[in-house]
């Protein structure tokens, strides 16, 4: 029977979305329980504040302005998520995205503040820096069999210290932060193309946001509609089979990580070239953007388009965390929720298998 009708819960898309929603609900539930444990009186209000994020503001312009801020941070998160996702399709776990993001931030700020280059030069330099780190991981994986997770983590730290060192020359004299783009080199700020008017003149809203969405669509096209994308996915399914059928699996591994690195590097430029935040040259931990990208990519069902929405959601609750009353609840509660969500995403495969198994046994029974 060719035109066998599939039940609602048998469609892969429905399964993926319902699994993601289930993860979100369970993650929020855990967050709520933790809030209850800390202080039961305000817990319900706190979780609502967290979910409302910018909607807590009464006036419409304020809402739009802070929606803008959340979107400004969603763009780099989406890029990191895409980086991890692209590599995951080739069977590589690019935890080094966090370091590639750091390298991108270092490169674009160095070009902007030290060399006074305009934004359209800073962007590709950031991509290049990220790609370089990705290339090292890929090379080590392809030719020396080094686990990409361990080399990625090592490079995260090497990248962080290198960037801190190279940006020390352009920091403010009285603080550990780099000088602002607006004062040192306004030509490096990303153009807004009038987008800021939609968000109550929030000048941090730039072309970075539409560009990141375009990147997601592009990744989707590359993965599903091109020979290259097909080869990458084939390499991910079975490295040996891919080599057997004439694909250059070593080249594909390196290329994947180069592209992944470039995506994460670009993500950093999408954020730091808006002038929203300055880099602190004394920071001793790798920015969480790359790690949150892991949450976004798995929550998005490993689909580029789904990732757009999941990135927004992860950033929404992360930003929402900062609205909590700091003298009662720590804002890291949103990190806690995202990490619980990632943990639960590990069970998604089992969940799907369970749904499909139930269906198969039911069918088998009908035939008899």
């Amino acid at each position: 029977m060719k035109t066998e009708k599939k039940g609602f819960f048998e469609r892969p898309a429905v399964q993926t979305i319902s699994a993601s929603l289930l993860c979100i609900v369970a993650g929020l539930l855990v967050g709520y329980i933790v809030l209850l444990m800390i202080n039961p009186a305000g817990a319900t209000n706190a979780i609502i504040t967290l979910l409302k994020n910018y909607l807590t503001y009464p006036s419409f312009p304020a809402k739009m302005k802070y929606l803008g801020n959340t979107l400004v941070k969603t763009a780099p998160l989406l890029m990191c998520a895409l980086s991890i996702q692209f590599c995951y399709k080739t069977g590589l776990f690019n935890i080094g995205a966090a370091g590639q993001y750091v390298a991108g931030a270092g490169a674009c700020l160095f070009c902007a503040l030290k060399l006074h280059l305009p934004w359209f030069v800073c962007l590709p330099m950031a991509a290049l820096a990220g790609a370089l780190l990705g290339c090292i991981v890929g090379f080590l994986k392809a030719y020396a069999n080094v686990n990409e997770v361990i080399s990625g983590i090592m490079l995260n730290w090497i990248g962080l210290y290198t960037v801190n060192m190279s940006l020390t020359g352009v920091k403010e004299t009285a603080s550990p932060y780099t000088v602002t783009l607006a004062s040192e080199n306004p030509s490096a700020l990303l153009p807004t193309l009038g987008l800021e008017k939609l968000f109550a003149n929030n000048s941090y809203v730039t072309i970075a946001i539409p560009l990141s969405v375009i990147a997601a669509i592009l990744i989707w096209v590359v993965l599903t509609k091109t020979v290259f994308g097909y080869e990458l996915q084939a390499t991910g399914f079975n490295k040996d089979a891919a080599r057997y059928s004439g694909m250059k699996e070593k080249r594909n591994i390196i290329l994947t990580l180069v592209i992944g690195g470039a995506l994460a590097g670009l993500g950093a430029a999408f954020f730091y070239l808006t002038g929203y935040e300055q880099w602190s040259v004394t920071q001793s931990s790798v920015p969480g953007m790359g790690f949150n990208g892991i949450a976004a990519t798995f929550l998005g069902g490993l689909h580029p388009i789904g990732t757009i929405f999941s990135s927004y959601f992860i950033q929404h609750i992360t930003s929402g965390g900062s609205f909590l009353d700091k003298n009662v609840y720590p804002s890291q509660i949103s990190d806690l929720i995202s990490s619980v969500i990632i943990y639960l995403c590990g069970f998604v495969l089992f969940f799907k298998m369970f749904l499909n198994k139930k269906r198969n046994t039911k069918k088998g029974g009908d035939e008899k």
Binding site: I150, W157, Y161, Y329, S338, I342, F350
Partner: protein, 312 residues
């Protein structure tokens, strides 16, 4: 010089404990990338226990700290065991989630405790200076940690358990060829649970050793700075063998110690190399070491693959 040896010993103990933990887990067939998170949890448990105990008898403090931190590690490692053994989850994903969860949960826990004590204290720092004194043996100006002694004992125990007992050999069989192990009546799931829980025990102990190395308070927002992953590099360099792991840990511990004490050496200080370079050193060394040793890897053959009875 004695300071360098002191720090080398303590950091080597950390790396050795955690790498041995990874070793047990991987020999049973489960890749434990959550060691970093397990360390954080062990450190959290131990630090809170030390803070609560304050100044009492040294024996009580040593035993209490060791027990509570290793127990925290064991409990936290159950998250990995359940997901990867009973639900066949992706071990890389689960390990990463555990690392992030530990950092977030520890920060939330410490901050809430601090806020409950004093609403104006929103830091994520635990102070345990009073109890920490009992963990140190002073030999002149040289300080030896009791935890280093515990680590050396556990090294010997690990060697014996892994190679000289029925349990250890069965554990390794589950990591090499679980189907064969199952066919002779070994319960693979049970063995893997044991492997992961032992790694939780050792990882938790490594965590408390790390945060008591030289400092008497810890800011939990910073986690353990990739030490869990350095330990995995040590494990690979040590080719999954306890005796080699101990030597590898000494080498890595030396480079990590150097970043703490380089300014005390005249010729190193005179070279005027920025501190960041020394901070990077352990990571660079491990990357190089991995590049040269991973090719002829003696990794357990079935590690990372969920056991499926129906597969030949």
């Amino acid at each position: 010089m004695s300071l360098l040896i002191q720090y080398t010993l303590i950091f080597a103990s950390v790396l050795m404990l955690v790498a041995l933990g990874g070793c047990f887990s991987e020999h049973s067939g489960v890749i434990n990338l959550g060691l970093e998170g397990i360390m954080v949890m062990g450190a959290l448990g131990g630090a809170l226990a030390m803070k609560a105990m304050g100044e009492t008898s040294p024996v009580l403090i040593i035993v209490g700290t060791v027990l509570i931190s290793s127990l925290s590690g064991v409990i936290y490692s159950m998250l990995l065991a359940v997901a990867s053994i009973n639900f066949s989850a992706d071990q890389t994903l689960i390990g990463t989630a555990m690392n992030m969860l530990a950092a977030a949960a520890a920060t939330v826990a410490v901050k809430s405790i601090n806020i409950a004590e004093n609403p104006d204290n929103v830091s994520s720092t635990v102070v345990y200076g009073a109890a920490k004194k009992s963990l140190v043996i002073n030999i002149g100006s040289f300080q030896l940690s009791w935890l280093t002694i515990v680590a050396v004992i556990l090294l010997a125990v690990s060697y014996v358990v892994l190679y000289k007992t029925r349990f250890g050999l069965r554990l390794m069989a589950c990591g090499e060829h679980p189907q064969a192990a199952d066919s002779v009546g070994i319960n693979v799931a049970k063995m893997r649970w044991a492997g992961v829980l032992i790694s939780g025990f050792l990882g938790g102990l490594g965590g408390i050793t790390y945060i008591t190395a030289g400092v008497s308070e810890w800011k939990f927002e910073t986690g353990v700075a990739g030490f869990g992953f350095l330990a995995l590099a040590v494990m690979i360099f040590g080719q999954w063998k306890p005796q080699n792991i101990a030597l590898a840990a000494l080498l890595f511990g030396f480079f990590r110690a150097l970043s703490n004490v380089y300014s005390g050496f005249d010729f190193l200080a005179a070279m005027n190399i920025p501190g960041s370079v020394y901070n990077m050193m352990p990571y660079i060394i491990s990357l190089l070491v991995l590049a040269f040793t991973s090719k002829k890897s003696r990794a357990p053959k079935a590690e990372g693959i969920p056991y499926d009875k129906s597969v030949r």
